[in-house]
Symmetry: D2
Subunit: 133 residues, 4 copies
Amino acid sequence: MTESKTIYTVRVGYADTDQGGVVHHSVYLRWLEQARIEYLRERGIDFRRLEKEQQLTLVVVDLHARYRSPARFDDLVDVHVWPARATSVSVLFGYAIHRGDTLLVEAEVKLACVHLGAGTVHRLPDPVAAALA
Amino acid sequence: MTESKTIYTVRVGYADTDQGGVVHHSVYLRWLEQARIEYLRERGIDFRRLEKEQQLTLVVVDLHARYRSPARFDDLVDVHVWPARATSVSVLFGYAIHRGDTLLVEAEVKLACVHLGAGTVHRLPDPVAAALA
Amino acid sequence: MTESKTIYTVRVGYADTDQGGVVHHSVYLRWLEQARIEYLRERGIDFRRLEKEQQLTLVVVDLHARYRSPARFDDLVDVHVWPARATSVSVLFGYAIHRGDTLLVEAEVKLACVHLGAGTVHRLPDPVAAALA
Amino acid sequence: MTESKTIYTVRVGYADTDQGGVVHHSVYLRWLEQARIEYLRERGIDFRRLEKEQQLTLVVVDLHARYRSPARFDDLVDVHVWPARATSVSVLFGYAIHRGDTLLVEAEVKLACVHLGAGTVHRLPDPVAAALA
């Protein structure tokens, strides 16, 4: 499904770095999260309303990241995101983070649809499932 | 009220640093927050229960910090915290962060008691007011 | 000097929130930082090159923030930043963070010019001083 | 090598949570990092000195985490860490994060030894290799 892809561009902040002089490895996870929110927005899904009106959220259950090359302060990086696989209650997003032609990070994140009140797994709402198809 | 003081000790993590080689200035705010939670715990106030059972929280409304000397990775720093002033709906905590004899940061943080549902200012519960007296 | 102002717009991420349902108060500091970097960029100062080529950085020495109203997940917020005062070795930036017409946070941050190697205060380079004039 | 294990205990802070009411998934990475620093400290390796005196650091190159159950504000969680495998230039740490008897997260993190100046992969110093054996 890579034809259905969103590219989220982010400027690396000073606070994103650590004393090794590169972006701390935990920071990329925030970018992955924001990229999938933008992916959904571009397909008509407002994640804020999903939580507020339907009490449903997407919870990270599995995360795999391979760090190839470090991002640095003030870089503009492109986070490519696409749904790689989906079930009735979960979705696996694939990611590739680039700075220009350089691949920085590859990742997959599996998210489960969870009801915020009950904390139980829930079927993905039809519009969300459609956005991931 | 400096006779009523708590000292919260924290080890500086790698992720707390930035590429300048020191702790990022925003990180100290997390330590101040944790220190006041420990201050309350030592006086019998469980902040988690305050939120859950009474739907009350403490919200930062004013913050002043003076950075004297930087903390560095792996330092053990002591966060001294005490209530400097309180009203029926708010409290001003004073702070001094030290590494050994070196003063790193001085700060004051004013917090208002707010009802989580309504978002409105609320009288401090009596046990909290007593803990701050 | 409010005629020389930059507006930096940021989308609130999910990770920026806390369990109180609003943006954590420490997150705004990252936005203030990014806003002043953009302020300098718009006036020809590349902060990354300043650090790399001249070994000079700007270090936060004093911070005052007044939180008026909370930002929330997915908000688009505008960070207004302007130099309020400058000396030969420091600058005080003023800030106002808005969501539409609503004022969220007002802040002032004083930064000192510091040599990264020596850790000593240093005169602001002429181009930086000019950008702040 | 699970007989050689360190347990790092951490109190969940308020800032570690998100508006879903649980710890944000990126926060666990900071705990994993701190746990491996403590693992090394218990075996005589001072990570700060490794960087300062030998210009060597450990860089995350591969990360896999499985989130089983969420940590919550004010929980005391135990991060179990052990070296699962090592080569002459890298180490794979295994992790299990628990709250009491409840397994919260399982993870593996592969780190490469890298020279801070050159950015190139470097042989693990003998004392570090011994601590991981």
